[in-house]
Amino acid sequence: MASIEQQGTASGRPGGSPGISFGDRLSMRTKRLLWVWGFLFLPILFYAVIRFYPTAQAFWLSFTNWDLLRPAKFIGIANYTKLFKDPQFWKVFRNTFTYLIIGTPISLVLSFTIAFFLDRVRFMHGFIRALYFLPYLTTAAAMAWVWRWFYQPPPIGIINDVFGMLGIPQQPFIRSVDQALYSIMVTAIWAGLGFQIIIFMAGLRAIPTTFYEAARIDGLGEWAILRKITLPLLKPTTVFLVVFSSIGFLRIFDQVYNMTTNDPGGPLGSTKPLVLMIYQTAFNSYAMGYAAAQTVVLFSILLVVSLLQLFILREKK
């Protein structure tokens, strides 16, 4: 690396300019640091401008009444008091946490079970794994529209057609205040399953087989092996997936938006997550300040939930 660097300097500044003697005076360690930071500079600049600056700006905006048109005016915590008094917000808050609290465990248990058994299947292993992974590759919007039609009432909804043939009463699904959220959650779990299975399987493969052999020689049953060896050793994988999947459910948007475009957020807002409310406040009502306040709340929720999970699932020594 050092030789390349010197070549670069030499050809870049021909004729013995003071730069070379300056470069020569630096220690190896400083040079290497400069080199590293030189490369890191661009992505850091990019993140600072594209990510961190707007994030900081959002905090400021949440204390203003900015509506895109007129200059933002500081209005203190008025946006937050309005938000906490808004029944719509609490409904959306409840929806978001329903997605999280019910969606995450179900999707993890399902994907672990599938990964655990798929790991032992040798027959058409690759094909079955591909089938599970396929939904993850599909565009969420396209998938949502297909499901939207599956869920239709008769005469066009496939699921209700099957119910009709089996003599099961027709279900309103996404037209119902009670069923809509769960109908959408099912599709979200299904879509994310492939990814989680792959990660779990990678985790399972990483456990040395010698552990299992030793356990079997010692006469441990399957259940005990699962509890004492597999699950504890899978912990890093599980922690990653819990955090990853929770953030996914807290940010759910595509499925909800596309499955209920003609009444965004489902009948009476029964499926509306926080992200959709933010989107509507910002880009339908153009209340940017109010939307920024909602964003700050979402940010705090994501932060607290992630930290809490990392704390609970931390390595206990």
Partner: protein, 417 residues
């Protein structure tokens, strides 16, 4: 040497550019992407440039979902359009935000606007100024499926004229399977479509009330008329079972699929319905009430001049706006897009009135109302929720109306510029 040639070339290039710029003035026209509208505008621009060789008009388009944000963002950065299209419901925001300038009265005198255009043009007036003029307007009518009419033993050439006839026809057309599921709707029920306009500007008035007062800034439907109008609407599903919200996903989809006898929709749906091959359909005026009272909801996209346009661009923009709101332009627009001319003289021609499709829409324009929305999306959502509370949660019509009126008043108050 090579550098010198390149430089000379650049200089020459810039000077011809500057020379051309001094000769001709270029203005920018913005609208959203909709195939036929863009084509019609291309045609209008070509005609206009033929008549005004010293003016070039550049058409810039954006997807509808992005359009408002683009206009607002461009205005902030100071390079917005000279002439732009806007929905009448955005005017408060656009005028208050300094995006539009009042139409100069020398080119667009008020008395002329008011005598030549349909009265709904006043929705573009704030204070003493007009901020835009429409090329075309849209109104609602009742579409009906002639095949389903014939099958139900109804006369396909005699569509319902009153609300009672409408309900009776729908009851005859509606079909249910053994389990009670709707298989063919008598009429579509879709608050997210045009039904909220029908309820707000038509049904409430037909039951003797008004939806709003104070220039549509005060909600007035928390009244006997509002309750009766919503009762009528929800009873179509709950008691008469002629339709069901969400049937075939959307009202227009159900009608297109030949699974609905009637649907209320606007002129903008004509293009889509014209491609229907499986059955013949007709259009008739929205049903009157028993006393013969009719109403309609009309809306339009208008064209206005950007606030930052001055000098010769302003002169060119005035000429262009005058042309695209002229009877000749309206004729081209009607033929290409299918939207009704905004001037009486261009609209109410004998040929248009006799036209079996345009006729009913045009008659509707004469008695149409235009809601001055302050936050269209939120006010529409409020109406959808109001109906859903009754249809899905079994809330009483009275309570739902009361809740909706309070919520909408709050939306209006917080959106006031």
């Amino acid at each position: 040497m090579r550098k010198a040639t390149l430089f000379a070339g650049l200089v020459a290039g810039f000077s011809t550019f500057a020379f051309n710029a001094a000769q001709a003035v270029e203005i920018e026209y913005w609208q959203y992407v909709f195939d036929t509208r863009v084509k019609a505008m291309d045609q209008l621009i070509a005609e206009f440039q033929k008549a005004n060789p010293d003016i070039t008009v550049k058409q810039v388009t954006f997807p509808y979902a992005d359009y408002q944000t683009r206009v607002i963002a461009a205005n902030m950065s100071g390079n917005g359009p000279d002439v732009m299209q806007l929905f009448y419901g955005w005017l408060d925001k656009f005028a208050a935000g300094g995006i539009l300038q009042p139409l100069p009265t020398d080119a667009f005198p008020h008395d002329k606007i008011e005598s030549e255009f349909f009265p709904i043009v006043t929705a573009m007036k704030r204070g003493d100024d007009y901020y835009g003029l429409p090329t075309a307007v849209r109104s609602l009518a009742l579409f009906y499926n002639k095949k389903l009419f014939t099958e139900a033993g109804l006369d396909p050439n005699n569509p319902p004229k009153t609300l009672d006839e409408y309900v009776a026809a729908a009851e005859k057309i509606a079909k249910h399977d053994a389990a009670g599921n709707l298989t063919v709707a008598g009429s579509t029920l879709d608050m997210g479509g045009q039904d909220h306009q029908w309820w707000r500007e038509v049904l409430i008035r037909q039951f003797g009330g008004v939806p709003y007062t104070d220039n549509d800034q005060k909600v007035a439907y928390d009244s006997e008329a509002g309750i009766m109008a919503l009762k009528f609407y929800t009873s179509l599903q709950l008691e008469k079972k002629i339709g069901q919200a969400g049937f075939m996903d959307e009202g227009q989809a159900a009608f297109r699929g030949g699974k609905a006898g009637m649907t209320i929709d606007g002129t903008f749906r004509l293009g889509s319905f014209r491609t229907i091959k499986d059955f013949e359909w007709g259009v008739t005026e929205l049903p009157a009430n028993a006393e013969g009272v009719r109403s309609n909801y009309a809306s339009y996209f208008a064209n206005g001049i950007g606030a930052k346009t001055t000098g010769e661009e302003l002169e060119a923009s005035k000429k262009f706006l005058a042309y695209i709101s002229s009877p000749a332009a309206m004729d081209i627009w009607l033929k290409t897009v299918g939207e009704l001319p905004a001037r009486r003289s261009a609209a109410l021609t004998e040929a248009n009135l006799k036209d079996p499709i345009y006729g009913p829409f045009l008659k509707g324009l004469e008695y149409a109302h235009t809601t001055l929305f302050l936050d269209e999306a939120a006010q529409r959502q409020n109406a959808i929720d109001m109906a859903n509370r009754v249809l899905l949660e079994g809330q009483s019509v009275e309570d739902s109306i009361k809740q909706a009126a309070e919520a909408e008043q709050e939306i209006i108050d917080s959106a006031k510029p």
